[in-house]
Amino acid sequence: MNKSGLNDLPNEILLHIMSFLMIQDVVKTSVLSKRWKNLWKHLPHLKLNTSEFSKPLYFSECVSGIVSSRSMGNYPLCTLDFNRHGSFQHKIFTELIKHAMSNGLQHLNIVVPSNIGLPYSLFTCHSLTSIYISVSMYDIKRRTRLPKHLDLPALKNLHLDSVGIQADHNGHAEPFSTCTELTNLYIDECVLVYPSSLPRKVEGKLNVTNATLSNLTIKDALTHKRMAPVPNYKYVISTPKLISFTLNGSPFLASSLPERLKVELQSSSMT
């Protein structure tokens, strides 16, 4: 009885089916037969979402289990989606990011609460081409932040939602100038994080300086959404290759913009 079925298909098709499964079902396939034991590790796109787990403990075990399993061989990873709304063990998160970075990660999409620090390895990854970071829960300590310098030479797309941006001792930040491939930048309700030594009433400045940037979108932090008043800061934009610019709210200083730039200014309801 030679019944034709899924087992007659090449690995790529089996992986294509797996790409539609939740992570639990993906990993369970290892039990099916010898052929399937390590097949799941070849999935180039990992989706880790706490909402798919009944208990936070299972999610933690899932993440650390996947990292140690995949570390046993050479399994490149192309895309990582990580979605965690509650708190999460920093050590496990760091291990996951380090593992992804050392396996050639290109696309990173994370949704985390703002009390999770972002490991430095994330900002020194030479394979990353796109980063999406969204902060889901505001916390006054705001550990989820961009460092002063980014070592991301392959980065083309950067989308930051409610992420802190580290400023220097003068209250200035200029993190994007070293991203030599950057094309699209989206800054949504990001706040400058000042060193504690700085006086309260400093005028912060975010320098958006980049030689290759084509599209820029900036949406201001709305004070009414925050628990503490947010110090306002000025944008200084220096992007000679810019094609489109959408700005919601704050005044800006254009120090190097192309003549025929299409600028869309949207009025915001700022107090």
């Binding site: 797996m18 992570i23 639990q24 079902d25 369970k28 099916l32 037969s33 009944s54 075990e61």
Partner: protein, 154 residues
């Protein structure tokens, strides 16, 4: 003269012969959606009947209908009509004929049907022989304990 020629080529018909001998007459542009058939035509220009040795007439008919009707609505309803055996054979056909849209639709459908099912269930429907030793299987189940929580009863 040129107009006539182009009209003729757009309604040119091709015959596809399924593994059980069933013949299907299809328009060239429909047949071309099957990249395997396209490659065949590229190799032998004058061909009129193309053998499709791996696909039964029953499934080839479904595949041709899919190509003619595919759109978002059709795809959403498409998979509901077929049982697991047919879905697998259709996927084998879509893979052999190299039709990416159909392959995607079927992979999604099969994934939906094995969601949250036990390995025993999945082995049965896919006809997978378990060649793990009992110790090996127990080891894997322990290692991935978190994955086996809340699985549907078979």
């Amino acid at each position: 003269m040129a107009e006539e020629k182009s009209q003729a080529s757009s309604s040119k018909m091709l015959t596809l012969k399924a593994s059980d001998g069933v013949l299907f007459e299809v328009e060239l542009n429909i047949a071309k959606e099957m990249k395997t058939v396209q490659a065949y035509i590229d190799d032998c220009e004058d061909i009129e009947t193309i053998p499709i040795p791996n696909v039964l007439g029953k499934h080839l008919a479904i595949v041709i209908e899919y190509i003619k009707k595919t759109n978002e609505e059709y795809d959403a309803e498409f998979e509901k009509q077929w049982n697991m055996d047919d879905l697998q054979l259709l996927l084998l056909a879509a893979n052999y004929l190299n039709i990416s849209g159909l392959q995607e639709c079927l992979c999604k459908a099969i994934a939906k049907r094995i969601e949250n099912k036990s390995p025993e269930y999945v082995r049965k429907v896919f006809n997978i022989e378990n060649d793990h030793s009992p110790e090996e299987e127990a080891k894997l189940r322990k290692e991935y304990k978190w994955a086996f929580e809340g699985v549907d009863k078979d």
